[in-house]
Amino acid sequence: MVTNLPAIGTQFLIDIPALDSIIGGLRRRGYEVLGPVVRGAAVVYDAIEGVNDLPAGAGDEQEAGAYRLTRREDGALFGFVLSPHSWKKFLHPPEARLFAARRDGRSFRLLNGGPAPPPRYAFLGVRACELAAIAIQDRVLLGESYSDATYRARRQGAFLVAVNCTWAAPTCFCTSMRTAPPAEAGFDLALTELVSSERHVFVIEAGSRAGAEVLAEVERHEASPGDRLEAERAIAAAKASIWRKVNTSGLRELLYEKFDDPRWDHVAQRCFTCGNCTQVCPTCFCTTVDDSSDVTGQQTERWRRSDSCFSQNFTFIHGGSVRMSAKSRYRQWLTHKLGAWVDQFGSPGCVGCGRCITWCPAGIDITQEAAALRADEEIAIGKGDAI
């Protein structure tokens, strides 16, 4: 057994074959490795076997309501910014069977002892905002009194390889949500891709013992001060290019006060209540349940499916739904993400990934809506510029 493990936090330099060995090392340990791949016209997260599956040279252009896959000359493996998928689809899957049961006389018997054991996942390419999103879902689903068995089983065994962004999309606003790179905690390994005409390498560090063990097996040498500086500069440049922002100071109170603001009517005229935003959001966690029986009525299953506060029957109680209007549903979503979440879980429920902006068919922008609600405030109290 290797006794000389690379120290946690020490940065090393590895090349592409070494990255391939890391994937191999994870697979040998029994992990199902998931990473970015091009499918159709987007980068998504799916099973990978080696670096050849990674989307070399893929980039993306994102704007409110728009996404386009582009080609990059430099062959970067992590040159795109964000996939419409998030790791939520593996950790908190859109569908999960809660139980199956069989009629037994006038009673019933559960057929299995809970959800099937999930695969052990290794995620390759978890961005800093996505690490923050996973930490948020941990706080929601691994509560003090109860924890969600499906999530816990998948999360406990997961191995996370972070990638620090060296490019940002115009839809990103992680800097104002305090989730920006470099990744600081919560990963097993963290990579920063350095790609230029001279070389294509990665600065890598272990964040856990499991990460150090995987790193110990691959060819590496300690990163030079120059390598480290290059990585820092690339990350800093990405962050410097981010212009979207949410001013979070006093935002929770502001949103509560703005319950009757006319801005909600304004956004309701544009919102289709399609729920795309909640679907792509890496922190949105709401679910519903469905019961379905076989034709004989002898056997039944209860499934949990992802749900959205934008659906009308989300708040159904006998006699009708509480939130009938589009206005009330958008207000619930935004007020929850940026306000109520702080009361519930100690931080906003938004990490600034911008997915909801890119994938909204109406191009509705959470940062703009939050700013507009605040702007009304500033005009009303006579400070700040009128917009």
């Binding site: 809660l98 049961a101 559960l110 679910t287 019961d291 006998h318």
Partner: protein, 287 residues
């Protein structure tokens, strides 16, 4: 008699989402559309104990699952009672169970009524319609611990005389010392000789010691708001007034998101809240 603890350790269960079958041992018709089911364990494993105000998620095989408050005596171990009003698919399936059928149970969940904070004080129970069901365990508890509490006042309103729950019990409680029971209905009919009008009209018959009382209120939201205004006007501090809230619930444990009400999850932060907590949010249209 064994005392129940007023606090409960809610550590995580093996799988929060798996219902445990329990057998219906009695079905009582309370009103034309409301029935009380008694559940007892199917096997050797006893049913869990509960605190007044807590609810269970009841599951009807192949039909669905819903939140129902426990309406029985918390000290009568081994049984769980539920008073269910048939309003839709699953509640209809539930009240159609026959003795010997089984129902799935998860829970109990939620925060209880403040029976600890109410010790030494007068207790005012105000209920509307099916809202008396989650308050009945409070009444049972106080009657079993009579010396720990002051006067018990029960104000109860329903649509019509035949919609009044637990009529025989209300009668017998009203004959106990230091217990005042007043009922009222919206529509009396010819044979009704009692009060007619909303439950707040009963306050004029109550001698309230505002700084020495705790009020526990359950009923339609609008009724709870009127009751709260009335009690506030009579000097009851907002923190001594408790209400039980209701929203759509799919999980009961804070995971599904459906029951959110402003900053709260009704299932895990409630369903019982102080009026002080609820006041900023109650009555907000489409919250």
């Amino acid at each position: 008699m064994e005392a129940i603890e007023l606090e409960q350790d809610q550590t995580s269960q093996v799988d929060t989402f798996q219902p445990v079958p329990a057998v219906v041992s009695q079905v009582r018709k309370d009103t034309p559309d409301t029935f009380t089911l008694t559940l007892e364990p199917e096997g050797a494993e006893p049913l869990p104990s509960f605190l007044p105000g807590q609810f269970s998620m009841l599951y009807v095989f192949g039909v669905g699952e819903l939140p129902i408050s426990i309406s029985g005596d918390p000290q009568e171990k081994g049984k769980l009672l539920y008073t269910v009003r048939s309003v839709g698919k699953t509640t209809h399936a539930l009240v159609s169970r026959k003795v010997g059928d089984s129902v799935g149970v998860r829970g109990p969940f939620g925060k209880p009524w403040p029976l600890k904070a109410a010790r030494g004080k007068d207790v005012l129970v105000v209920a509307g319609g099916i809202g008396l069901a989650p308050l009945r365990p409070v009444i049972y508890y106080i009657l079993r611990h009579r010396a720990d509490y002051g006067r018990l006042v029960i104000l109860y309103g329903a649509r019509s005389p035949r919609d009044l729950l637990y009529q025989k019990q209300l009668d017998s409680w009203s004959r106990l010392p230091d217990v005042q029971v007043l009922t009222t209905v919206d529509y009396g009919g010819l044979s009704w000789h009692g009060h007619v009008g909303v439950v707040t009209t009963l306050f004029r018959y109550v001698r309230l010691q505002p700084l020495h009382s705790v009020a526990m209120v359950c009923g339609p939201e609008i009724m709870m708001r009127y009751v709260a205004w009335e009690l506030e006007a009579r000097g009851l501090p907002q923190g001594d007034l408790y209400v039980s809230m209701e929203r759509n619930m799919k999980c009961g444990v804070g995971f599904c998101g459906h029951c959110q009400f402003g900053p709260y999850f009704i299932c895990k932060d409630g369903p019982i809240f102080t009026y002080r907590e609820m006041r900023p949010w109650l009555g907000k249209y489409e919250l």
